[in-house]
């Protein structure tokens, strides 16, 4: 007979993991500051390109200068909140075999990693999202939301973007159960991820066929959707619904993959 489960105890670790994830990144303040320099340099360059485009025509696919500038600086800020690059923790632990310890712990590995990632993202909102956006808003024409509700919707959309991003990164890393060396896979995502998610150029500027294809993928949920919500283009609720769908789907697939992958695990020595 299974012992009765006290749900309070089962769920207790996760809020703590969120806090731990936050504190872990808050420790490296100098690194966060240095990273900001890169964000701002690239923000200036990207803003220059988009401004040059809008010098040809005042509105391109619904973006005027203020919307394009807001797009650039939100993108630079969200980059390290949503996190596209540099998450190789799980694959490293699969390769070294440390994942065995993680699987043996009295927690749900996927939920624990998601909790830690949300904590990381929470710190990134303060350290990596607000400063570039403040810089952009002070230095350039900026499009603030007109409806107060947009702030809440943007918050929800960003949260969902982090979960979708986590889902994608989890799957890429979990491929290590089969491939062992996932550098090629993660490297490939690193180079195409920015384009297909609408980080480097607004997806609305893409040809119709490319937009139609991307609409069937989770990628726009990462950057384009939160930014679209912030600059109030169209009805936000279908966008949030799509993010919610992809967040749920990716987490479910990730869970199945982890289950299959951990069966392949052979612990040497023992």
């Amino acid at each position: 007979m299974r012992p009765s489960v006290a749900w309070g105890n089962v769920l207790a670790p996760y809020p703590q993991l969120v806090r731990a994830g936050f504190r872990c990144y808050a420790t490296y303040r100098q690194a966060a500051l240095a990273g900001l320099v890169t964000n701002v340099v690239f923000g200036l360059l990207r803003a220059a390109v988009l401004t040059a485009v809008l010098a040809e025509r005042p509105v391109v696919a619904g973006y005027d200068v203020a919307a394009a500038i807001t797009y650039v600086w939100l993108g630079q800020g969200l980059l390290n909140v949503v996190l596209l690059w540099g998450d190789t923790e799980l694959s490293r632990r699969v390769r070294t075999g440390d994942v065995v310890v993680d699987l043996g712990r009295p927690w749900d590995l996927q939920a624990a990693m998601l909790a830690t990632d949300l904590g990381r993202a929470g710190f990134a909102v303060l350290a990596r999202l607000l400063p570039p956006v403040a810089f952009g808003a002070l230095s350039f024409p900026f499009r603030w939301p007109e409806q107060p509700a947009t702030w809440a919707l943007f918050g929800a959309s960003t949260l969902l973007a982090v979960v979708v991003s986590f889902g994608i990164r989890f799957l890429l890393n979990a491929s290590a159960f089969w491939l062992l060396d996932v550098r090629g896979v993660i490297g490939m995502w690193g180079v195409v991820g920015g384009v297909v998610s609408g980080l480097v150029v607004p997806l609305a500027w893409f040809p119709q066929w490319a937009q139609a294809v991307l609409a069937w993928t989770p990628f726009p949920a990462l950057f384009q959707t939160p930014i679209t919500v912030f600059i109030e283009r169209g009805d936000p609720f279908p966008l949030l619904g799509s993010q919610l769908f992809w967040a749920g789907t990716l987490l479910a697939v990730g869970r199945a993959v982890l289950h299959r992958g951990s069966r392949r695990l052979v612990v040497q020595g023992g």
Binding site: V37, T38, A52, V53, M188
Partner: protein, 268 residues
């Protein structure tokens, strides 16, 4: 002794190259990722030109020519001196002390520590784009322009390499200069891929005179296209990239020497 020294770098480099070819599939994937990675910015240019017909006063072929020159130069520079980005790690871990103790120059040792052949993927992407745009940009070919087209990527690579060495030298003063260095490295790749007419006056001045990125692709491209500078800068600048490269190398050497003299180790 001199005899030994002459032979040592080719042997070091050859051993690094053999090491990378030991895992051919992984190597091929890496090369492909670099190739695609270099093409990402090209996608941006193509997408932008589906919306407008000119950017900063240049049409698509002309911007792609600048991109091709910049990408090839970046690939070559990354292949030759990309290893300089590891300098912050060498300083932090104290490994630099080992290099300084050996009877060889610290910079050549650092640069030859890992010649990453996968970066050939970037060079290949750059050359493909460059070849395509040179063929179609309607250039009136003269012997001087042929010489310029052949040498411009290498000269651009020298300029970029000098900028990176100088920028990475900040690591001698900052404990973790990695981010600053990478923003210069990848920022220079981005900045040189577009006509400088798109940047504001300050960014433009910096690119022309302080960090000479405009001489990597913009000015050579103007010379190849036979266009006057829309900003009204003298046409002599269009042909002066090799000279700028020499000055940049001298400047970078000076900055590097100052940095090494200043170096005190991290004390751990």
């Amino acid at each position: 002794m001199a005899e030994v020294r002459r032979g040592i770098y080719p042997r070091i480099v050859a051993s690094r190259i053999r090491g990378q070819l030991a895992y051919p599939v992984s190597f091929a994937l890496d090369v492909l990722a670099q190739f695609i990675g270099q093409c990402v910015e090209l996608v941006v240019i193509v997408v932008v030109f589906t919306q407008v017909t000119s950017l900063g006063g240049f049409d698509q072929r002309e911007v792609v020519l600048m991109y091709g020159l910049a990408a090839t130069a970046f690939g070559l520079a990354d292949l030759a001196v990309g290893q300089i980005n590891e300098l912050p790690e060498y300083i932090r871990s104290g490994e630099l002390d080992v290099l300084l103790l050996r009877p060889l120059g610290a910079l050549p040792q650092l640069l030859s520590a890992d010649v990453s052949l996968k970066r050939l993927g970037r060079v290949a992407a750059g050359l493909a784009v460059l070849g395509w745009s040179l063929a179609g940009a309607g250039i009136t070919w003269t012997p001087v322009r042929v010489l310029l087209a052949v040498t411009a990527p290498a000269v651009g690579a020298v300029i970029l390499g000098a900028i990176w060495v100088a920028a990475n030298t900040v690591s001698f003063w900052l404990v973790d200069g990695r981010e600053v260095a990478s923003s210069v490295t990848y920022g220079s790749n981005f900045a040189t891929s577009y006509p400088i007419t798109i940047y504001g006056p300050w960014l433009r001045r910096i690119l022309c005179f302080a960090v000479p990125g405009a001489f990597v692709a913009y000015f050579p491209a103007l010379a190849l296209l036979g266009r006057a500078d829309p900003l009204g800068l003298p046409s002599a600048l269009q042909w002066s990239s090799p000279l700028v490269a020499l000055v940049a190398v001298a400047g970078a050497a000076l900055v590097w020497r100052t940095g090494v003299r200043h170096y005190q180790g991290t004390g751990s």
